[in-house]
């Protein structure tokens, strides 16, 4: 995500490749850029230790059969005299190659494909509504309008609520016995719905919650993007006799492109990995029917006999899916001439 727009005061032309003068290229590069490297060093070190080292371990774990039950290399028992006797664990974990992947992808263990399908449904519906509603509200708020400030604050409110509180609030409202949504349904003559009895309605509750949680972010970012579009473009379009809809399609949308592309990519990634909403609103009910990949992985790792290796396998697969998606996304943008 980097173009060269970023104002480098000390711009470095890339060193000519054939340059054999003493101090070596690395040395000269260091002399020139050492302060920049020193400045980024803490973060690079932290990223390395806290993210890439665990990542490497996670990938390695996915090739073992490590679980809570077989994680000890030795089993120690206290003898009567108080001394400890340790024997190698006969069923200790071992490297099993691609077994986890085969098990998971063939459906022998867990419900990967079902969860993958739910995740796709979840991600697509959330992102489409986030973007659509966010864009609609941003367009409305971007015009001269009485009470604009008040609307803006009210519409941003859901963003100010921590996600786990929102999740609890919506689960409370969707409660089958006394939830206000069922009460309102009844008041207008509809049947009470058993939201968590069917995976489709249960997923719907989570999607509604997540839409409510995520729209303000989209709205505000798109609003920010709209305000950077020069008004001359609108004036020119107006002089050319463009209808409001034409102005929206030909001026607003292209002007929003850079912001849209970023928020759509980030929004997709965030939603794909959105843990708390599913975990707290549906809890995977009914019977794992609304589990997405991330919560499935969490359950593998921390519920029942903790299957650490299987959870890591999930993690590697999720990351691969997102990486492939991002690469394709970027490529599609490039094809349309977006330099990004």
């Amino acid at each position: 995500m980097s173009t060269a727009t970023a104002t480098p005061p000390a711009r470095t032309s890339p060193p000519p490749p054939r340059d054999t003068r003493r101090p070596g290229r690395l040395r000269r590069s260091w002399d020139k850029h050492w302060y920049a490297w020193v400045m980024v060093a803490p973060v690079v070190i932290v990223l390395g230790v806290l993210i890439f080292y665990p990542l490497g371990r996670g990938i390695l774990l996915s090739f073992t059969n490590l679980t809570e039950a077989n994680q000890l290399a030795e089993i120690c028992t206290k003898s009567i005299t108080g001394s400890e006797v340790c024997k190698p664990n006969p069923s200790a974990w071992e490297v099993v190659g691609f077994d986890n992947y085969v098990d998971l992808l063939s459906g022998r263990v867990g419900e990967f494909w079902r969860q993958f399908g739910v995740t796709l449904l979840w991600t697509v519906s959330c992102v489409v509504f986030h973007y659509g509603i966010g864009l609609g509200l941003a367009v409305l708020l971007n015009r001269p309008l009485r009470g604009r400030g008040i609307y803006r604050v009210l519409l941003i409110l859901p963003w100010a609520v921590p996600a786990f509180v929102s999740a609890f609030a919506w689960r409370f409202m969707f409660n089958e016995q006394f939830g206000v949504i069922n009460t309102l349904f009844e008041a207008v003559g509809l049947d009470r719905a058993e939201w968590f009895a069917d995976w489709r309605t249960a997923l719907l509750t989570a999607v509604v919650t997540n839409i409510w949680v995520g729209v303000p972010f989209m709205m505000v970012t798109l609003l920010g993007g709209m305000q950077t579009i020069p008004s001359e473009q609108y004036e020119a379009a107006e002089i050319d006799g463009a209808t409001p809809w034409q102005r929206f399609v030909n001026v607003t949308l292209p002007g929003l492109r850079p912001v849209s592309m970023t928020v759509l990519l980030l929004g997709t990634i965030w939603t794909f990995n959105m843990f708390p909403i599913i975990f707290l609103v549906t809890g995977g009910e009914p019977a794992g029917g609304t589990e997405i990949l991330v919560t499935g992985a969490y359950r593998a790792a921390f519920e029942g006999i903790r299957n650490y290796s299987l959870a890591s396998t999930y993690g590697v697969l999720i990351l691969s899916i997102l990486l492939v998606f991002s690469v394709l996304y970027r490529r599609a943008l490039r094809k349309q001439g977006e330099v990004w």
Binding site: T5, I156, P244, G315
Partner: protein
């Protein structure tokens, strides 16, 4: 409440100046306001409903009768604050989130500056890495980090959560601060360097003070991230007195015999302070986010 479809009022030129209002037909005006009022109601209703419910006695919270407030009482708040571990959880959350915020900002401020100002070899890669870390599902890091924490004996400590949250906060803070530094004119850097200041002095004496709003907003955002995190908190913390709010509040709504009245009161207590600061900070937050997102 009338909710008109989103597209009802034809989109008119944004930023078209005050002419826009006079030219809008009354019907379009009504549609516009109706849509916004409807959307605002939807945005506010869940919050209002939780607040209202928190003042009701238990039997009215869990009743299918529709009532705004019935026999208002502060008993739920009193119970949550005196009879449960809620204050301890709150303190835990504050400590953990504050540590995450401080360490995260300290580390990412210089990085954001370097990314914004210097075109050093590796810059593009680092920006790429920040983006890629956004893709890391909790699932891939949580087990290895859990095992490392277990090996270090840090399970069930605040430190384990702070370390885990840094993996989320550091890339994001660096990214956002870079965006904020981008919005500060480079002519200031040039002036400082003409005055003989090195890059570190320029950063420390000239740019950092100017970036204070951006730092504050990023700090707040990382605070909120740690404040609301659920997965790590659920996995790493085992005893009641060490829970964070996000995990502790699940105690109020077990599978059976959920105590929604206490949950609503706790929700209000958790949200009000965070929301006040958030609303104060959000303007800067957005400009930092969009700047960071659109400029490479």
């Amino acid at each position: 409440m009338t909710v008109t479809p989103m597209a009802a009022p034809a989109p008119k030129a944004p930023g078209a100046g005050p002419r826009g209002r006079s030219r809008r037909s009354p019907l379009a005006s009504i549609g516009l306001h109706a849509t916004l009022i409807g959307a605002s109601l939807i945005a506010v209703f869940p919050i209002a409903w939780v607040v209202l419910s928190s003042f009701k006695p238990g039997q009215w919270v869990q009743s299918s009768e529709l009532s705004l407030v019935k026999e208002p009482t502060l008993a739920n708040y009193e119970y949550v604050l005196t009879q449960t571990n809620f204050p301890t959880w709150m303190l835990n959350s504050v400590i953990i989130a504050a540590c995450t915020m401080l360490i995260g900002i300290l580390m990412s401020a210089t990085t954001g500056y370097a990314l914004s100002r210097f075109n050093f070899p590796g810059r593009r890669h680092l920006l790429m890495v920040f983006l890629v870390t956004q893709m890391f599902p909790v699932a891939i890091l949580i087990v290895p980090i859990y095992q490392i924490m277990a090996a270090l004996g840090l399970i069930n400590t605040h430190a384990s959560l702070v370390i885990a949250y840094l993996t989320i906060a550091v890339p994001f803070c660096s990214w956002m601060l870079k965006g904020y530094f981008d919005s500060i004119s480079t002519s200031l850097d040039e002036a400082a360097s003409i005055d003989g200041a090195g890059p570190f002095a320029t950063f420390w004496k000239v740019i950092l003070p100017l970036a204070r709003p951006g730092i504050a907003v990023t700090a707040f955002y990382s605070f909120l991230t740690a404040w609301g995190e659920v997965a790590y908190a659920s996995a790493f913390i085992q005893t009641d007195d060490r829970f964070t709010l996000a995990y502790g509040m699940q105690q109020f709504v077990p599978q059976f015999n959920a105590q929604w009245e206490y949950l609503t009161a706790a929700a209000v207590l958790v949200t009000v302070p965070a929301a006040l600061v958030f609303l104060y900070a959000q303007r800067h937050l957005v400009s930092g986010l969009t700047a960071g997102g659109t400029k490479g």
